[in-house]
């Protein structure tokens, strides 16, 4: 189906099902239970999951396939966001032109940076991309404030000269982003028993674009072009002596992944019309590298898993405070409660960085292929059990013959 083989089609369908059912799946705990803290099914976080998923899928097209480790991809995301917000300010609150512009601008930006950076390989390439991104960040934070609004980030105001549409609504507030009238922030709430599920327009728009991006990534992975990119990673010398110039391939991959980043940036701005400079900082670039490696570089689903993993920690663990711990452990005797809280406390709330750091180390030490490898190991465990049973059967049947 869709020009994919059976395995890929299955993967795509599973991902699509999970994504579309996310409002249910991410809210497994009844809203008034103590475990509700771990629910992630609210619009903002779900949007972040899929948007950073897009970012990581795109990054993986470059890093996973060609092996070129860019340390400056956040710059494209930032540029995408700025373009989208400017589109909202000047043209219209419809997200479509904004997203299109952010993809195009990020693509152009990637073409320029990629053209220069790809003259070098290995760590030299990484540092070149890092240098470009840091320059963009530093300038966006200070000298370019008229364009980027610096520290505060580019926001909408009540007197934006919007060509299509009004500067402010009738009741004096800033118009909201929409897709032909469907407001991105509109949320439909469904209450089933003790559960409360939220279905958000913006999330579904992002999710559909994520699925399209994922589908495109599968096609690229399986295409001759993808094969060429893997060949670049595998052996550039042989590539050159086979009459192939690797530069156009790597540049194309760089621009495609830059456009993915731009799409992610544009979507972020569409969900929440603000573009902050720190989106372009090296830590942000580092984050997408971590997402990809953590999930499993070079695998299709890995980057999405990695993105979800990191964003979940950032948003859920950082919000657990001492009071919540007390409510969890309140059933215990006082002494034990306090000891447990003292033990757990350094790892949650303001200590969420610590937990994340430890998890990075554990994953990379024990699962060299990232989370995907973890999944594969579990899968193999089950399969071995099954095949073990089959062997048993066959050995049993042998004597009968």
């Amino acid at each position: 189906m869709f020009g994919l083989d059976k395995k890929d089609t299955t993967l795509l369908i599973i991902v699509a099902a999970l994504t579309l059912a996310a409002p249910f799946l991410l809210n497994p705990f009844p809203t008034d239970s103590a475990m509700a803290q771990f629910n992630a099914g609210y619009p903002d976080l779900m949007q972040r999951f899929v948007i950073f998923g897009i970012f990581a899928i795109g990054f993986n097209i470059l890093f996973g396939l060609t092996g070129y480790l860019s340390f400056g991809h956040a710059a494209f995301l930032g540029v995408g966001s700025y373009s989208a917000v400017w589109m909202f300010k000047l043209l219209s609150m419809n997200v479509l032109p904004a997203i299109l512009l952010s993809v195009v601008v990020a693509g152009v930006f990637a073409l320029l940076i990629g053209f220069v950076s790809l003259r070098r390989s290995g760590i030299y390439f990484s540092i070149l991309t890092l240098a470009f991104a840091q320059m963009s960040f530093n300038l966006a934070y200070s000298v370019l404030t008229p364009i980027t609004n610096g520290e505060t980030g580019l926001q909408l105001t009540l007197d934006d000269p919007r060509v299509l549409g009004s500067s402010s609504t009738a009741d004096g507030s800033i118009p909201v982003t929409n897709l032909f009238g469907a407001e991105m922030r509109a949320t439909y709430e469904m209450v089933v028993g003790p559960w409360n599920f939220q279905f958000n327009t913006g999330y579904y728009l992002s999710a559909i674009l994520m699925l399209l991006s994922f589908y495109l990534a599968i096609r690229i992975f399986r295409s001759p072009f993808g094969m060429m990119l893997r060949a670049v990673k595998s052996n550039q010398t042989r590539m050159n002596y086979t009459g192939l110039n690797s530069r156009p391939y790597t540049l194309a991959a760089f621009v495609i992944s830059g456009m993915y980043a731009g799409l992610a940036g544009g979507l972020m701005a569409s969900m929440d019309p603000l573009a902050g400079a720190e989106r372009m900082q090296w830590t942000a670039s580092g984050e997408v590298v971590l997402m990809t490696i953590l999930g499993g570089a070079g695998t299709l689903i890995g980057p999405v898993l990695g993105a979800g993993f990191i964003k979940y920690f950032e948003n859920i663990f950082s919000k657990i405070n001492e009071g919540i711990l007390h409510s969890w452990f309140s059933f215990m005797p006082d002494g034990l409660e306090d000891t447990l809280i003292a033990l757990v406390y350094p790892f949650i709330g303001k200590g969420w960085h610590l937990t994340l750091g430890i998890l990075f180390m554990l994953v990379v030490i024990f699962l060299p292929g990232g989370l995907v490898e973890g999944g594969q190991r579990i899968g193999r465990l089950f399969r071995r059990k099954k095949s073990g049973q089959e062997t048993d059967k066959s050995t049993q049947s042998t004597p009968a013959e």
């Binding site: 295409s223 001759p224 072009f225 993808g226 893997r230 042989r238 002596y241 009459g243 194309a252």
Partner: protein
């Protein structure tokens, strides 16, 4: 007029004269070996031929066109394929994919993407690659992870990848270096077969006299960056200067 004409090529590295006035002519559809002791400049010469090094003076013409100043991939597109001392294959890819890439390269030139089209749909390319693997007796290994094969198989695959492009000149850089005897003989047989079955010019740089004398029609002996003699294998074997400069040293 040979298909490959090297004229008055000089190359210095600092104080070292790596190549001094090299003249070489390789006739079309012949098998020409270049031998010489270590440090004789064989590898430098090869690197000049494939565009990796640019000589200080002199010219290198392939089929009437200069190769100097062209990048390796452009030289390949002119019809020159190279086999490396250590097999250079796409280790992360399967054997079949390894074989498909040169065929793609031949069909599409340097850059054509088919970014969306699935490579599994490229029937024609796959058929060609499989036929080539069949010729190499490697069809049963088509889904092998190529990095995990034996050195002999890697060499076989590499030669096959070069042949898949139908090159006019095949450059071999010590193709049997570091190989077990059986692998060496297999490789010699493969090269003989290629020589017999195809219209192809082979230039081979080799250390192993057994390989050279089994394959070459003409031999150039290089010593200290300069060609000493060029002749048929029989004559080279008995040549006093060669014995002195090379074979004598080897004995």
């Amino acid at each position: 007029m040979g298909i490959l004409e090297v004229k008055n090529v000089n190359k210095r590295f600092g104080g070292l004269q790596a190549l001094g006035d090299v003249n070489l002519s390789v006739a079309e559809n012949s098998c020409h070996a270049i031998i010489g002791p270590n440090g004789a400049g064989k590898s430098t010469l090869l690197n000049v031929l494939v565009g990796k090094l640019i000589p200080d003076t002199g010219s290198v013409m392939f089929d009437g066109q200069s190769v100097l100043g062209r990048k390796p991939f452009e030289i390949n597109q002119m019809g020159i394929s190279r086999v490396f001392q250590t097999p250079e294959i796409f280790g992360d890819l399967s054997v079949l994919e390894n074989m498909m890439i040169p065929i793609f390269a031949k069909r599409d030139g340097s850059f054509r993407m088919h970014a969306i089209e699935s490579s599994a749909q490229e029937k024609e390319i796959i058929e060609k690659a499989e036929a080539m693997l069949e010729d190499l007796n490697m069809a049963d290994k088509r889904h092998f992870h190529s990095a995990s094969m034996s050195r002999g198989d890697k060499r076989r695959l590499e030669i096959g990848m070069c042949l898949a492009q139908n090159p006019r000149l095949l450059l071999l850089d010590e193709p049997t270096a570091g190989m077990a005897r059986a692998d060496t003989n297999n490789t010699i047989d493969l090269l003989k077969q290629i020589k017999d079955e195809r219209d192809i010019t082979i230039a081979i740089i080799e250390h192993d006299m057994h390989v050279v004398f089994s394959l070459a029609e003409r031999i150039t002996v290089l010593a200290q960056g300069t060609p000493l003699v060029e002749d048929t294998p029989e004559k080279i074997k008995g040549h006093p200067k060669v014995r002195e400069a090379y074979l004598g040293e080897a004995a």
